[in-house]
């Protein structure tokens, strides 16, 4: 399946040496070209949603391509210090939200390497 990029919302993480999503993808599939990010690798995306959680502008979401569904549902996520919030937008437009604990104590944020 795959991740979709909302080109309007993507700022290309302007100013950063490396875009958040580009830094995090376990397959190195997201590559910044100019000021926007693009998905490489012809469908090799594993749907891990790491990039979805990392994007500061919610410009990324998971979709189900047509061979498996393709009705247009979208899965967004937002990570806070201790929880991950998921937003599932159904084809009808209705939204489901899930908030799940993700870490117990608040230490300093992940350093950039």
């Amino acid at each position: 399946m795959t991740v979709a990029i909302d080109i309007e919302k993507c700022t290309g993480c302007s100013g950063a040496r490396e875009a958040q999503c580009e830094r995090i993808c376990p397959g190195g599939l997201l590559v910044r070209e100019g000021v926007k990010v693009q998905l490489r690798g012809g469908g090799a995306c594993w749907d891990c949603a790491a990039c979805v959680k990392s994007c500061p502008h919610q410009a990324l979401y998971l979709i189900l391509p047509w061979p498996l569904g393709g009705r247009g549902a979208r899965l967004y996520a937002r990570a806070s210090a201790t929880e991950t919030e998921w937003i599932l937008r159904l084809p009808s437009g209705r939204e489901e939200r899930y908030v799940i604990p993700a870490r117990i104590n608040q230490k300093k944020p992940v350093p950039e390497i």
């Binding site: 376990p26 397959g27 061979p67 498996l68 569904g69 549902a73 799940i100």
Partner: protein, 563 residues
């Protein structure tokens, strides 16, 4: 090759692969020897790399009250029909609970009961809110002072004249840098191997990436080991997972997490009352299909609304596309039972038996090289906690060895470095030839059709395997025609070369074991019976670089670690 600079690095221990085993090894080494330099070389970023990019919802190896390392060993022996390295399983199981405590200490939230005990999920598992397990392990590694070289693909071990592994060559994908990394010890934690066979649910070219095991674990660590002459074990014990059809989402979340019945098309629970192993459950499912009673399902229709919600949340922590799938169909888990299917075969030391042949200190057959986690063989059912323990043992062994021996690292000579760099970057220089995807498609075709892929019902036979052997040999030569337009293509080129190497070794193993031991992981249609009088042995292999062939070896079971 223009624009590729060369950089030299030196460290005490180089860890190849920043996954679960690699990070646990790195943290352990720094804690045990705070002045040591520990460098993790990772193709992506350890914060989300490897199997656990999406997270976990259970830690599957834990000793609850009443269980011991011995009872765990008995369980694993039964699961793998007696072919198990007892020394490896015992040393691993002894550390499960401490590994889970460490995860909790690093901030991974484990729900607990009133007495403060972890919640049970099945006989050997505990429940966890593990969506952020990798970022939390990575933070622990940063606090411990581990150094990282990220987006750096390991391609070749550096072996000195005495045959000792003294580091590795690696490619900086983002900074176009060829690294020469010298290390007093190297630990290989590159995970298992996916992408050998084509996906078991034939979809379309659009969604090639769907699979249970990550395609980014291409078996490079195993291929590097084979090329350097390391001994591998049990590559015939492939792992085929029973998964949710289309999403390939793990079924344990439903079967053990929520405890729903597994039924055939008539709604009959075909597993009920039968005390089956993991592979037997898979085989029973295929048998239902074979008898015309498919498809088979996990019957989620009787869940309460609260349980259905709990199931969705558990999937969000580990395989979010499952929730997207329900959403896209505008269905709840209660509306329809979940259809199950077998995955394509993988080689995964953490679930089955295949990988590096190691001793109980997790040392491989090459001096200076250790292996742990999904990349090492002989001790199945490792899961997260077992991979951590193996990483810890490997790290302590490596530290012990480098402090005891006064090692002098010799940098490979200028010619050797230039040659290695030339080999690693060769696809960038070629202008016409093949691209990685073409070779990969050919590899899939060979293995699917001649080495027991899903299209062959996973069944193996000598006649077909001999064709696979012949075709793979040709394919190994085609690797010299690979081209790459940029660094991403180059990474893909290396991955396909490595897969072809591992696949070639696997086919030799599949040919060698002339019995049927773990159907359908390993099922010989031409030798349909299990033969304990002949085959209670490990089958091992070594690659002979000089004549491009494999040397097969048998290792007795009782030789406990016997190297």
């Amino acid at each position: 090759m223009t624009g590729w600079q060369t950089e030299f690095k030196e460290t005490d221990i180089a860890i190849v692969g920043g996954g679960v085993a690699g990070l646990a090894a790195a943290i352990t080494a720094r804690e045990a020897a705070p002045s040591s330099r520990i460098l993790v070389v990772e193709q992506a970023h350890p914060e989300r790399s490897g199997c656990l990019a999406a997270g976990v919802n259970a830690i599957n190896a834990y000793l609850h009250p009443g269980e011991t390392a011995h009872t765990f060993l008995d369980f694993v022996l039964r699961e793998f029909m007696g072919i198990v390295r007892r020394d490896l399983v015992m040393t691993m199981a002894a550390g499960f609970n401490k590994a889970v405590d460490r995860l909790a200490a690093w901030g991974v939230p484990f729900p607990r009961d009133r007495e403060g005990r972890y919640l049970r999920r099945g006989r050997h598992a505990v429940v966890v809110h593990g969506e952020r397990i990798k970022p939390l392990m990575f933070q622990a590694a940063c606090r411990a002072g581990v150094e990282f070289l990220n987006r750096t693909l390991a391609v070749e071990f550096i072996v000195n004249e005495g045959g000792r592994v003294e580091g590795l060559y690696a490619l900086g994908i983002k900074n176009s840098t060829f690294y020469i990394i010298l290390a007093r010890a190297v630990i290989c934690t590159t995970g298992g191997v996916a992408g050998l066979y084509s996906p078991s649910c034939p979809y379309s070219g659009l969604i090639r990436g769907i699979g249970w095991y990550p395609l980014f674990n291409a078996g490079s660590g195993l291929a590097m080991g084979l090329r350097a002459g390391a001994e591998m074990t049990s590559l015939e014990a492939r792992f085929i997972a029973l998964r949710v059809k289309d999403t390939l989402a793990p079924t344990g979340t439903v079967a053990q997490g929520i405890r729903v019945p597994q039924v055939n098309v008539h709604g009959e629970n075909y597993l009920e009352g039968r005390h089956l192993t993991t592979v037997e459950r898979l085989q029973s499912t295929l048998a239902e299909e074979g008898a015309g009673r498919g498809p088979c399902y996990l019957d989620t229709t009787r869940l309460t609304p609260a349980e259905a919600r709990q199931l969705e949340e558990a999937y969000l922590e580990m395989c979010p596309r499952m929730v997207l799938w329900w959403g896209d169909h505008e269905e709840s888990p209660r509306d329809k039972p979940l259809e199950v299917c077998p995955s394509e075969p993988y080689l995964v030391g953490g679930h089955s038996l295949s990988g590096y042949w190691i001793d109980s200190r997790r040392h491989t057959t090459l001096p200076g090289l250790y292996a742990a986690g999904d990349a090492s063989g002989g001790a199945p059912k490792k899961y997260v906690s077992g991979c951590m323990v193996e990483g810890e043992i490997a790290a302590l062994s490596a530290l012990e060895d480098i402090t005891q021996h006064d090692l002098h690292l010799t940098c490979p000579g200028e010619t050797a470095v230039q040659e290695a760099k030339g080999r690693a970057l060769a696809p960038l220089k070629r202008t016409n030839g093949l691209v990685a995807g073409e070779l990969e498609a050919r590899l899939h075709k060979i293995l699917d059709e001649y080495a027991g892929g899903a299209v062959q019902g996973y069944r193996l036979m000598a006649g077909r395997l001999l064709i696979a052997r012949r075709e793979l040999k040709k394919l190994r030569r085609e690797c010299y025609r690979l081209t790459a337009g940029d660094s991403y293509d180059l990474m893909q080129a290396h991955r396909v070369v490595d897969r072809i190497m591992v696949a070639s070794a696997m086919v030799e193993h599949l040919l060698y074991r002339k019995e049927t031991r773990w159907p359908p992981y390993q099922e010989r249609a031409d030798y349909p019976v299990r033969d304990d009088s002949r085959w209670m042995v490990f089958i091992n292999s070594r690659y002979n670089r000089d004549n491009d062939s494999f040397i097969m070896l048998e290792r007795p079971l009782e030789e406990e670690g016997g190297l």
